[in-house]
Symmetry: C2
Subunit: 345 residues, 2 copies
Amino acid sequence: MRRSPKAGKAPKMDIRNVASHAGVSIATVSRTINHVASVDPVLAARVWKAIEDLNYFPNSQARALVSGRSKLLGLIVSEITNPFFPELIQEFESIAVEHGYEILIGSTNYDPKRMESCVRRMLERKVDGVAIMTFGIEELLLKRFATGDIPTVFIDIGPEHRRSTTLIVDYRQGINEGVQHLAVLGHQKIAFISGPLKLRSAETRQAAFIDCLKAIGLTPCASWLLEGDHTLDGGRDAMHRLLRLPGLPTAVMCSNDMTAIGVLHALFEAKLRVPEDLSLIGFDDVHIAEYTIPPLTTVRMSCHDLARSAVFALLDHLESTSRVPAHLIPTRLIVRQTTATPSPR
Amino acid sequence: MRRSPKAGKAPKMDIRNVASHAGVSIATVSRTINHVASVDPVLAARVWKAIEDLNYFPNSQARALVSGRSKLLGLIVSEITNPFFPELIQEFESIAVEHGYEILIGSTNYDPKRMESCVRRMLERKVDGVAIMTFGIEELLLKRFATGDIPTVFIDIGPEHRRSTTLIVDYRQGINEGVQHLAVLGHQKIAFISGPLKLRSAETRQAAFIDCLKAIGLTPCASWLLEGDHTLDGGRDAMHRLLRLPGLPTAVMCSNDMTAIGVLHALFEAKLRVPEDLSLIGFDDVHIAEYTIPPLTTVRMSCHDLARSAVFALLDHLESTSRVPAHLIPTRLIVRQTTATPSPR
DNA sequence: TCTTCACCTGAGAGCGCACTCAATCTCAAG
DNA sequence: CTTGAGATTGAGTGCGCTCTCAGGTGAAGA
């Protein structure tokens, strides 16, 4: 009774107890738990009863240790407080659980130190696979998982090896729809508030915006290309900066919805009306985008698609289910009420 | 090479490899890793170098198995897509990590089945402690953890035993401030949109509201006591119901911020202005409450306080740090711009 | 009746690590 | 030079479980 000072309580329930209580060997208990077909139904019933009676839970540490499979999937996101990620996590988790896996979440907050510890923890816990959905792997993560020891899923850019999948988001499609939509309404002066440009995907979104602008014969104005950080505060601050500029654009596109909501707030403070004085388009289409005032026109990147593709890609590597997942994530414009014809000024 | 069909890759790095590479016994490696003071610095250096060279990670499954401590803290929340919880999770995680623990998240979505599987998973993974922050334990959870085998933290109501802590949220304080604030502004007709009433805390909040109303001589009107579900959609729907009623209140208090944001949206659709036509007060003070239009007056229940108290209470049970945590979580009104004098009608 | 074979079951090994305990080593004092 | 206390070290055990493999059972065929 060395390491059990609490004493007496739970009498260290393990597979042996179940075995003796059911009058079988531990091997049979193990087989029963793992649904091995060859177990005599009578014995299996006895085992299940014993498990029930004793309120036994298999120790997954031990299971993982011996089987080599932890049944854990890592999920690394950049910022859990950005509503997009909880939505993604929820979806990811339910699909994972459905397939017998659990998830270990890591939130990097764009902080290299946290990122490092995140990866380390995943490795230590021996996750069976990892989805890195940070929208911008600062090399670090990429390098850590480059060895290809465990299956990975990346977004936009990732290592090239057999056990890794890269999900490509078609930012251009949705952003183009947004720009076109604005152009059709008559906007010519369009600003863009990006995410942190060290993030690959933020950069890609901005690049897509610039290209789309050029495609319709508009010249992107450098001072209307602001860098945000994908947060509410960042969006508000960027808009403040924009407002201090001499000329004002007639429309603003944002790299994500949080930024757009921040912009909405800055505009409210400045007593500017949306969409009358300024049109606004977000990106992601988080649930709350439908609830802003006015409801936000935004580019939808389905976190449902993303989560599904990620889990399935991982499962594919793990169990070669050959359930070929879609690796191209589409985006499309959802028109709500933050866009309108520019008012003559 | 039986169970390693991937072959060749990582040569099954374990403590033995490190030991032989460093020319010491595995015991010394173990001691080094665990920072046992008595290890000869020279040997320790050799060990660390070997660890570095071999890129070795201790297997936490094995560590947990033998030591009996998983260094895992469970965190069960009701709904990860409600922004309050990500904020709570982030705080909880960073404090936990700071103290050498990791967290396992479970989101119940108010679904008994998910709840059951959540608990089961926590138990199977042998978490060292669990914080149940669902604001409404439907007995189920309570019962599951009632045995007192592992330390737990509950909110509002929990089992009574040595290894369990119950955090009491002082809903009344903040709600009272809200009601008073409304009363001072001249409101007499105040509605309340609750959370799902099967949730203990939702019920408590509503009860507090009713009491506060009575305390200032107002009679709560039954038809103005609506049940929501703590979501955006629920808030919007409840407000729709309220709008269909013959008489309209002049102010609405909500059981959480998501509900309030839903209400805001319903009001926008109905072309009613806030706060001119109707005053509105939320609850929680999630970050985005500052960003609604107009910015939401709300009762702050600090998720920072909550997370801190929860982790510390758990650590206290685990390591008897006797870092006595505050068990009373205060709430207070944050006045922003959704409240004003009722307009004469 | 005896062998063959398919089918189950249980004994036992060992997953990677922490921890105990006895062995070894160091060094000062006798 | 010997001895003992104290400091380090390494062999070995076992955490709870899965999986292999050999042994045992019973039905079918010779």
